[in-house]
């Protein structure tokens, strides 16, 4: 059964026919997210931390553990320089959760009121919850492109079920006698729902909402693969670079956020008797006052930001060390010229798709003719290819130079017959796959996908213990400076000759933003330039700083990019 092709057809049909609808959602959603981000981001971090601590004091009665945790935890996040990411993640989670509540509670009510609806929804909810979140990202990108919106969409599908289930459960668990009492006094169904059922089911529903929020948080990392901003991107890039420290710091920030949100929602869920006992005037006053200050500073910050709106450019890239270097350098150059730059790291295939759909201005990460051949074939008609920005790049199978093989044809049973690869969607992986098929001596070898970072770690480990290893490598890359490596000869040319890294722009950029188009068109540099930036990053400098350092050192070259 060609289920895969049916699915593709359906998604293609939807993408084509409902484009207007999806675009409206994409724009509306992105606008909402940007607004929320701007508002939350406008509040100075320290003020926000104090406000959140005050709220924590208000909801936890004479217990100091939670407010202290909020205060210190948020302070730590700020100290680690992750405040902006935290804000973006928070808006993402809040938006997904709000949507889940708005959609989920009515669905849950409908489910509780009708056994037939319950019969249909139950398996659907099981399906939604057990299908890996990754799967939702694919149509999400097709429908909404990249950014926060597909992230919210995927989070929503994944995190909706608990709210629906618990609402259904809460309403069905309302004691029969309560229902009868409500009916016996002549309540209409609506009165019964709002006056009896929902208030009685409230705590169960809140437990479901709490679950939903937690699931939305767990989807944040996944959503980063399609460009959702925030802490997830830090975690994802840490995974791809096997950067334990960065991964831990980002993870801790996410944990702090999760615990904070969880405790807040739990504390807001008190029963009527408790609520009455907790009523006190000063709490109300302080609460309203704090909320007012918060709203005021948000709006104020918003106006300030509005005034400072600038020319903008959006770049997409893959989280390879080479592309991190080049995209950051270009971004710094744009910033110097007064642009607002949006950089989104994506999976390779998604990156191509994004530029082709016109959802990003361009990318300087297209490896041609071989590495990205598949993507080029699929999308080049909808792209504006601006030519090479760096020559002499190469991909191939790479081994440490102490191994006594020189050609792919020499490989027999070294390294457990395994080629250690990178992300499954990467171009070099497709090339390696071709090589496996073309060389008869590789017929029983396997290509092990992982991530760029894991591959580097595996290589490091193998070299330290002097083991055999074959990796999918490319240059420029810092590993050539760090270790003694060699490419394996490729007599059948499956892995491509020397390659170029190319710049691509979306169709129509030339008309919309001629300056940006020109800069992209002019952007080029040397392999040595790139490797120096890469090495700085590898030695612990942040990508922005390393890029800034290079830009500062080469003003002439940078200015040349922006000249006519």
């Amino acid at each position: 059964m060609p289920i895969a092709s049916w699915t593709e057809k359906i998604v293609d049909w939807m993408t084509a026919n409902w484009a207007g609808f999806f675009d409206a959602i994409q724009h509306g959603g992105q606008g909402t997210m940007d607004l929320a981000n701007a508002m939350l981001g406008a509040v100075p971090p320290l003020m926000m931390i104090v406000i959140m601590t005050i709220f924590a004091v208000l909801v936890s009665h004479k217990k100091w553990g939670f407010p202290l945790f909020v205060f210190l935890g948020l302070l730590l996040v700020w100290n680690q320089g992750l405040w902006a990411d935290l804000v973006q993640t928070t808006t993402l989670v809040i938006l997904s959760s709000l949507l889940a509540i708005v959609i989920g509670i009515p669905l849950g009510i409908w489910m509780a009121k009708s056994d037939n609806v319950a019969k249909v929804l139950q398996p659907l909810l099981d399906f939604m919850q057990t299908m890996p979140g990754f799967v939702y990202l694919i149509p999400a990108v097709a429908f909404f492109g990249i950014g926060a919106v597909p992230g919210v969409f995927a989070s929503l599908i994944f995190s909706l079920p608990p709210t629906v289930r618990f609402t259904n459960l809460g309403i069905r668990q309302v004691p029969v006698e309560m229902e009868e009492a409500a009916d016996s006094f002549g309540s209409t169904p609506k009165q019964k729902l709002f006056k009896v059922e929902l208030p009685l089911a409230k705590s169960t529903i809140m437990a479901g909402v709490n679950q939903t929020i937690m699931l939305a948080l767990s989807m944040v990392v996944l959503a980063s693969m399609v460009g959702a901003p925030g802490l997830g991107q830090g975690i994802l890039s840490a995974v791809q670079h096997a950067a334990v420290g960065a991964g831990f710091v980002n993870g801790i920030a996410l944990v702090i956020l999760a615990i904070t949100i969880d405790r807040f929602t739990q504390r807001l869920n008190v029963d009527a008797v408790e609520a009455q006992q907790q009523k006190s005037k000063w709490r109300k006053w302080v609460g309203w006052l704090t909320a007012l200050v918060l709203a005021g500073s948000m709006v104020g910050g918003l106006f300030a930001q509005q005034a400072a709106a600038k020319k903008s450019v959006s770049l997409v890239y893959v989280q390879w060390d080479s592309e991190i270097a080049s995209t950051n350098v270009l971004a710094q150059a744009f910033k110097e010229k007064g642009y607002q730059v949006k950089m989104t790291p994506l999976d390779n295939a998604v990156m191509w798709q994004t530029v082709a759909n016109g959802q990003a201005d361009g990318s300087v990460s297209a490896w041609l003719p071989n590495t990205h051949q598949a993507q080029y074939k699929k999308y080049h008609k909808n792209l504006d290819m601006l030519g090479a920005n760096m020559r002499g790049a190469k991909v191939g199978l790479v081994v440490p130079d102490y191994m006594n093989v020189d050609s792919i044809a020499d490989l027999q049973s070294q390294a457990d017959k395994t080629i250690t690869g990178i992300e499954p969607g990467a171009g070099v992986m497709a090339a390696a796959d071709k090589a496996l098929k073309a060389y008869p001596n590789l017929s029983d070898w396997k290509l092990q996908g992982s991530s760029t970072g894991s591959m580097a770690v595996a290589l490091d480990k193998a070299i330290k213990s002097h083991d055999d290893i074959v990796v999918t490598g490319w240059s420029p890359h810092w590993m050539w400076k760090k270790y003694q490596l060699k490419y394996l000869a490729d007599p059948k040319n499956t892995m491509g000759q020397a390659e170029t890294i190319n710049t691509m722009a979306r169709k129509g950029l030339k008309a919309d933003k001629p300056e940006v188009y020109r800069a992209l068109d002019n952007f080029h540099w040397q392999k040595g330039d790139m490797e120096s930036v890469m090495l700085d990053i590898q030695n612990g400098m942040s990508p922005e700083k390393a890029a800034q350092k290079w830009v500062d050192a080469h003003p002439k070259q940078v200015n040349a990019w922006f000249e006519k």
Binding site: P175, E177, M178, E180, A181, A182, D183, S184, F185, G186, S187, T188, Q191, K195, V196, P199, L200, K202, D271, A272, V273, Q276
Partner: protein
């Protein structure tokens, strides 16, 4: 004209209702219907009339269909067939709006588990019925406060149900039902969840309320004593059928069949009732420590005319009358010098055996357990009560 009239009311639960209904019309028994169709008959061809202003009690064991019947009256359960006339209008034929109106204005219900909304205060609970009618806040609060005032609950109006005792909660339930000023009160085993003392209090309150407000009350109960205490007329149900309707006297003197006879506990009670069943809590004085002043104080506060004198290990020493205690105080005597003897009996002694003892005794009888410790006292009145039932039973052949 009867206030409420039920004709051929039937309720069948389950899937194959139609064939089961045909069988009901042919008067096939409930068990056979269940075997043949798999459908359960909840109420089987019930017919009765309730007059305006009477307390009509529907009795039966659990599973007899009495709770289903009361829910058919306000259509919390939809009847399968038959009619329910309220002031001559057929409720079973009403559309939604008319039914809502009947529920809001004419009938209110009180529940066994009180049915109070835990997230609403006492006042908010009481005004619920008025709230759903869309009455303005001030007006409904006034009415609800009046209803609470009548139930002596006004000081608790801002409390939540979980903060009140069972008896208070049920008074709130009653006040809520009365706040609507309905013509008919439906009470579904309203006092079954309360302890016996509170229960009697509530029954008295209900009788008083009835005397003042002249409501028509349809009361469900499985307790014969309760039915006899409050009911003007009683209907007894069995397996969904109404087997007898009449006054308490009718039912006790002319039971329609063996079931009713058994139900009204047609056994020689004096042969089964033990001292333990009819004894009361004793008020005691410990003669090792208490003096006449303490004894007198106890008599005043407990409203009794005499005390059981015990020692430290609660063994009966004798009976102390009020006069004896006064005498002891005047003459400066110790309590043990003024006691009179008090006969004691074992707690499992039968009423029929107690009669000759109490006949000769000048004091109540002390009831002791196997270790000889005092657990209660038996007074003359209770023995007579038990015997009165026996007299009534003696007209019948013994069942057991």
């Amino acid at each position: 004209m009867a206030k409420v009239k039920i004709e051929h009311l039937t309720k069948i639960f389950g899937k194959r209702v139609k064939p089961a209904l045909d069988l009901v019309e042919k008067h096939v028994s409930k068990t056979d219907i269940l075997e043949q169709t798999g459908a359960t008959v909840g109420v089987y061809d019930a017919n009765l009339e309730v007059q305006e202003g009477e307390i009509f009690v529907i009795m039966g064991l659990s599973g007899s269909g009495k709770s289903t019947l009361i829910r058919l009256l306000n259509r919390l359960i939809e009847p399968t067939s038959g009619s329910i006339y309220l002031d001559g209008d057929d409720i079973s034929k009403m559309n939604k709006e008319e039914l809502l109106d009947v529920r809001r204005k004419k009938m209110s219900m009180v529940f066994q588990g009180f049915g109070l909304f835990p997230q609403r205060t006492v006042l908010e609970n009481t005004e619920y019925g008025l709230e759903v009618q869309g009455m303005p806040k001030e007006e409904r609060t006034k009415l609800a406060e009046q209803a609470l005032e009548n139930a002596n609950l006004l000081p608790f109006k801002d409390q939540f149900p979980s903060q009140l005792s069972g008896g208070m909660q049920q008074r709130v339930g009653l006040a809520r039902a009365l706040a609507n000023n309905p013509e008919i009160l439906l009470m579904d085993e309203a006092f079954s969840a309360l302890d016996p003392l509170i229960r009697r209090e509530m029954q008295d309150e209900l009788i008083e309320l009835q005397a003042k407000q002249k409501k028509t009350i349809i009361f469900i109960s499985h307790d014969l004593n309760e039915a006899l205490r409050i009911g003007d007329r009683i209907a007894i149900m069995k397996d969904g059928e109404v087997v007898q309707i009449g006054t308490g006297e009718d039912i006790l003197t002319n039971p329609a069949n063996d079931y009713v006879r058994a139900f009204t506990e047609n056994v020689d009670r004096s042969k089964v009732l033990t001292a333990e069943r009819i004894m009361e809590q004793p008020v005691t004085a410990n003669i090792d420590v208490d003096g006449p002043n303490v004894a007198l104080k106890k008599m005043v506060t407990e409203e009794v005319g005499g005390l059981v004198a015990v020692n430290r290990s609660r063994e009966v020493q004798g009976f102390l009358s009020g006069e004896a205690a006064l005498k002891a105080r005047k003459e400066g005597l110790a309590l043990k010098d003024v006691l009179v003897d008090m006969p004691t009996i074992q707690k499992d002694m039968l009423v029929s055996d107690i009669v000759p003892i109490i006949y000769d005794a000048h004091t109540p009888l002390g009831v002791v357990n196997d270790e000889g410790r005092l657990v209660g006292i038996v007074i003359r009145g209770r023995v007579l009560e038990a015997l009165a039932d026996k007299e009534l039973d003696n007209q019948e052949t013994e069942v057991k």
